[in-house]
Assembly symmetry: C2
Homo-oligomer: 152 residues x 2
DNA sequence: TAGAAAAGTTAGCCTATGCTAAGTTTATTA
DNA sequence: TAATAAACTTAGCATAGGCTAACTTTTCTA
């Protein structure tokens, strides 16, 4: 099939700017979402969330985690005493749950699309932060229609 | 359908760290990719890429664009004289083309999934930077199978 | 239980990306 | 063509998120 001529056309400046602003806001939440999700997982799987384990799982140094946790505490997502393990506030727990739900949908969707598990894990870690409710809904429908086809 | 019990399980620290490191590398390229893509579009649609138009489309101030362009020039993606319009180097042009191709696939894929145009535009602007070759391939297959179904 | 190891903090550095205010250069227009 | 407006730059500031080095606290273990 021949490639159609790509008649490129620019969005109106204001509209495109709104899109980029939206993406920047999503970026601001990325670290927060990944952190609370990891804290919740660590508590669920290991019994507690230690800074050193967070650093290991995130692939960053302990001081980096320490500094980011200070921000998260300031913003009311986590709670911790010096030298002690980390807890989620209700606000943090809520964000962790919704982040994980979204992450799971994106991951399962990629698997349903035929992507390998390793790639689905990698890509979903970045994609998750940029999938709107509408897109997640479409992804979820796809997952469900696939599982119906497979099992029915 | 009942919700299966989510037996959450943590990845091995090293593996998860590698995933996050991969996402961080992708993030480092985001601004670069968005900038060269926009420059290429502006040249194609308006005849030239002016800093003021970039600022308007990106939704940031002119000094912000100025500073980022200085970095892109340092890194060999763009070329410009003070007070003059902006040009892509061969390296920048190549990145612009591949970025746009990837952006287009993600956008068209969301449309094929039944997502509205406004949402597809928004989400694809963030998602594009985190879709691997394997995932893009799966997306592309889906787009093509859909267009076959629709037209055939 | 004392010493060593591990965990966590603090200080100080860096880059990227945002901003405003103020100055300079280029382009428009009266 | 002189004055004004627009575009661009520069300076200076802020925050987020990286890092290493050095220090403190806690935990483990001999
Ligand atoms: Mn996640
Ligand atoms: Mn993530
Ligand atoms: Mn793009
Ligand atoms: Mn983008």
């Amino acid at each position: 099939m021949k490639q159609a001529i790509t008649r490129r056309q620019l969005q109106p400046p204001n509209k495109q700017a709104a899109v980029f602003q939206h993406v920047r806001r999503a970026h601001q939440m990325e670290a927060t979402e990944d952190y609370v999700e990891l804290i919740d997982d660590l508590i669920a799987c290991e019994g507690e969330a230690r800074l050193v384990d967070m650093a290991r799982h995130l692939g960053v140094s302990q001081p980096t985690v320490s500094k980011t946790l200070a921000r998260l505490q300031r913003e009311g997502y986590v709670n911790s005493q010096p030298y002690r393990s980390i807890f989620l506030t209700p606000k943090g727990k809520k964000l962790a749950i919704s982040s994980r739900k979204r992450h799971d949908i994106v991951f399962k969707f990629l698997i349903a699309m035929g992507v390998s598990e390793a790639t689905a894990k990698r890509d979903s870690e970045g994609l998750e932060h940029h999938a709107s409710a509408e897109t997640l809904h479409a992804f979820n429908n796809f997952i469900e229609s696939r599982s119906r086809t497979a099992s029915g």
